[in-house]
């Protein structure tokens, strides 16, 4: 981690936080959901955002 990131963010720069892996779905559920990681599972809610 560099210092600048601890103090604050720089302008004109994009940031993505690192994932810290702790828990996982069992293999068959992971396949069905499209990810092994519960914290990355963001399913599409049909109807949301549709005008």
């Amino acid at each position: 981690m560099n210092k600048k990131r601890c103090i604050g963010y720089e302008l004109a720069t994009a940031y993505i936080p690192f994932q810290h892996y702790t828990v996982s779905f069992p293999p068959m559920e992971a396949l069905r959901k499209g990810t092994l990681f519960p914290e990355l599972y963001k399913p599409y809610q049909l109807g949301k955002g549709i005008r």
Partner: protein, 83 residues
């Protein structure tokens, strides 16, 4: 395709998928020991599942990574898009 074959294949797809996910995670987290241990364990499990499947239905990998019985079984139907 019969149900038994479908189930075996789906198990391979599930374990294979866990390995794809851990592989991508490790690419950006090469020092995560626990993830790497899991990767190696699932990798062994995939090898076993693959060997069982291939004994009944023929090779899953080309380029000499799966052995074939006689006659050459790689050409066997069905191919993935027809399964």
């Amino acid at each position: 395709m019969d149900n038994k074959r479908r189930n075996m294949l789906e198990e391979i797809q599930a374990v294979g998928f866990v390995l794809i996910e851990l592989n991508l995670y490790l690419d950006t987290h090469p020092n995560d020991e626990r993830a790497l241990r899991e990767f190696n364990t699932y990798s062994q499990q995939l090898k076993r599942l693959r060997t069982q499947y291939e004994a009944q239905y023929g090779p899953l990998l080309n380029s000499g990574l799966s052995p074939s019985q006689f006659p050459w079984k790689w050409i066997n139907e069905p191919w993935p898009w027809d399964m």
